[in-house]
């Protein structure tokens, strides 16, 4: 209970102090429900980075930050409730960490003029800023992920996937269905045989799916899973003795939670990523001095350095950098949501900037522009080492097949624009 006292005190302070003057970064987290294993580390990383900025630098540009949390349990109705209840707090950017909630919030945030950052999830075609004015999904999206996985397999097979069989095991929801179109296009382009294997929420029962995979004998399996579905899939793959090195998960299927349960059998499992893994970065020293040692760590404080913690931290870093950019553009430290949007649209992540922040080589470098809200879409591959119990990056952040993805983005966003009568925002 002692660790809770610390967060209790922080939460109490946050509730007591006036939020007016703060830069507010609301966190729609989920620390309960079937997806909590993924939600907790992300929320912790997100909160800890801002706590560190407050403690070390006195906030962003001299203004303190605050991170009010709201529990969504990955449920869209609660997500809407959270959005509405936090809207009055003056939130600068929303990060729902749920594709379902994202779909709900895209029209709402656009109407309310509040930006939303869906990093590596959400509606992929939101990368087209001409249509989605307030939604950002840099640095990479689901379709980059699908293409990144295929590119990696292409490289492994000497550039030829002709006649290979690739199966997609996916969460049967908006999230899991996203890559299907891209993979279908890619299968036409590269001549591999593509099959879809849906798994229904929450995915605790996958015997029949893996029986199908055992019968089909695909050469490779790609997985778009989340929550408990991941560890069940890894376990089932181990049970049918599917070679782990031919099993690639999207970045939401590549955390410690997903592989630890299967023990040694998970060794060699691969996952995509768009940011660095491990805690071997200078920023973690600052987190330790300014956050952990002062007892200010969010949650239980035991997630530091895990993949999803790093992702939450990365999301917070990008939000903080966008806020800095916004402060520079508008020449005021007290920015509003509208200014934050300008900051996000002008965000430039360079290697120098990341090094300066204590995150050298942590993620790809990219620029955001009015028409491109998706960044460059560079994707790397990590592999699980079951004996050392750690993920290692086994490839560079490589470009994905934008020749295939860009037309799909144009098509999907054009459909959305037509449905909702949206003019070109960048004019």
């Amino acid at each position: 209970m002692t660790y809770k006292l610390g967060t209790l005190a922080v939460a109490g302070l946050m509730a007591a102090s006036p939020v007016m003057a703060d830069l507010v970064f609301p966190s729609l987290s989920y620390r309960t429900g079937p997806y909590a294993a993924g939600g907790i580390p992300f929320a912790d990383g997100y909160a800890d980075y801002f706590t560190m900025l407050n403690e070390r630098d006195g906030g962003i540009g001299g203004v303190m930050t605050s991170v009010p949390e709201c529990e969504t349990a990955y449920n869209t109705e609660k997500g809407v409730e959270c959005y509405e209840s936090l809207k009055d707090s003056g939130g600068l950017v929303y990060q729902p960490l749920s594709t379902g909630i994202t779909y709900q919030l895209i029209p709402k945030t656009t109407a309310d003029g509040i930006p939303m950052h869906t990093m590596g999830y959400g509606r992929t075609s939101a990368a087209n800023g001409e249509v989605f004015s307030h939604t950002f999904n840099y640095p990479a999206n689901y379709w980059n992920g699908a293409s990144g996985a295929i590119n990696y397999l292409l490289a492994e097979n000497g550039g030829d996937l002709n006649g290979k069989k690739i199966s997609l095991v996916y969460h049967n929801s908006a999230y899991g269905k996203e890559p299907i179109r891209t993979l279908q296009e890619l299968s036409k382009k590269h001549g591999f045989e593509f099959t879809e294997v849906p798994v229904d929420h929450p995915g605790q029962e996958q015997k029949s799916q893996w029986l199908q995979i055992r019968r089909d004998k695909p050469d490779y399996v790609i997985m778009y899973g989340w929550g408990v579905m991941n560890q069940v899939a890894v376990q089932e793959a181990a049970n049918i003795r599917f070679p782990m090195e031919n099993f690639i998960g999207i970045w939401w299927s590549g955390s410690e939670n997903d592989v630890l349960a299967a023990g040694a059998a998970a060794d060699g499992y691969k996952a995509l990523t768009f940011h660095g893994v491990g805690s071997d970065f200078p920023v973690f020293d600052d987190i330790k001095t300014h956050v952990v040692d002062k007892g200010l760590a969010a949650g239980a404080g035991d997630q530091i350095g895990t993949v999803l913690y790093n992702r939450g931290l990365y999301a917070a870093m990008l939000a903080a950098e966008a806020a800095k950019t916004a402060q520079e553009i508008h020449g005021t430290p007290d920015i509003t949501a509208a200014m934050m949007r300008d900051g996000m649209e002008a965000l430039k992540i360079t290697e120098e900037k990341m090094t300066e922040l204590g995150l050298p080589n942590f993620g790809p470098t990219f620029d955001v522009s009015c028409s491109n809200h998706g960044g460059t879409g560079l994707v790397g591959v990590t592999q699980w080492d079951a004996t050392a119990k750690e993920w290692t990056l086994i490839s560079d952040f490589a470009p994905t097949d934008m020749d295939v993805i860009q037309p799909l983005i144009e098509e999907d966003s054009a459909a959305y624009a037509a449905e909702n009568n949206i003019e070109n925002n960048c004019g």
């Binding site: 309960t32 529990e71 996203e178 229904d200 999907d412």
Partner: protein, 358 residues
Amino acid sequence: MFYREAGDFRTTYAEDQQTFPIKFDRYRYYLVLFIAICVVPFVINDYWANSLLLPFLIYAIAAIGLNILVGYCGQVSLGTGGFMAVGAYACYKLMTAMPDVSMFIHVLLAGAITAAVGVLFGLPSLRIKGFYLAVATLAAQFFLVWLFNRFPWFYNYSASGQINAPERDVFGIVITGPNAEAWATYAFCLIFTIFSAIVARNLTRGSVGRKWMAIRDMDIAAEIIGVNPLRAKLTAFAVSSFFIGVSGALFFAIYLGAVEVGEAFGITKSFLVLFMIIIGGLGSIFGSFAGAAFLVLLPVMLKVVGVDWLGWPTDIVAHLQLVIVGALIVLFLVAEPHGIAQLWRVAKEKLRLWPFPH
């Protein structure tokens, strides 16, 4: 003291048969209607509409619908989520196919389509009863969710399988999509809720409702006195599904704006609505409202108290919420197995005699 009938004379049959024969009751009902229609729309904001009032009104319609089937006609159903999905998808297809038609018509048509589907899945009720019927409707639940996930025609071939409500208006007032004003969405749902409650109330105390209740109490006896079980059961399924379909359409188009069938209309939704009527009171229109309020408003209130006032961590509050709501359900059902409606009835009875109970 309260609810005094002395001096409350009724001189016509119409007065004798009205829904609220006691004057105090009637005035309270008018007051609630007055506040809901003339006060709330002017003070409502986004938070109140989207977090509390819209879900309450919409779930109340669903609970009224399910109460007709389970509470009045005695046919246990676990297919509510599936039928709500039918309403939502029917509304979506209608909205996108005929953008110029008024939303009122779309929502009513969505209800009618759901009624037809409900009758179809109600057919087994002629042969099977009780738990077995529950299992048959459970099959409807899973089948319908699977159907809407499986065939892209239902979601207009969108990449994600989500359906999104485009912007539509009623008499020039936008009521769906993000630009809808809080009062407009609230008023739209309120109209349907009042309409549902009045229709349901009058159906259940007329000959149709009496037939349903006869079937519920003992179907063989009902058949002997001349109630046609085929018609009684199927009308119950049709009327119930109509309301559930309307609520599903509102749930999607007005409240959420984007849904995914497995997440929004899964088996948990069926249970949620069933719990509402069990806690609220089977066979009571007021019970449907009370149950919906209990399960929609209480969690939000607990959250506001725990997180916003006391500043506790969100996960602790979320867990406490489950504990408290669960404990209250058990307590309620132990104290009064017939639900909040019965508690209310008993309270009224006591108030009628208060302060001289003998």
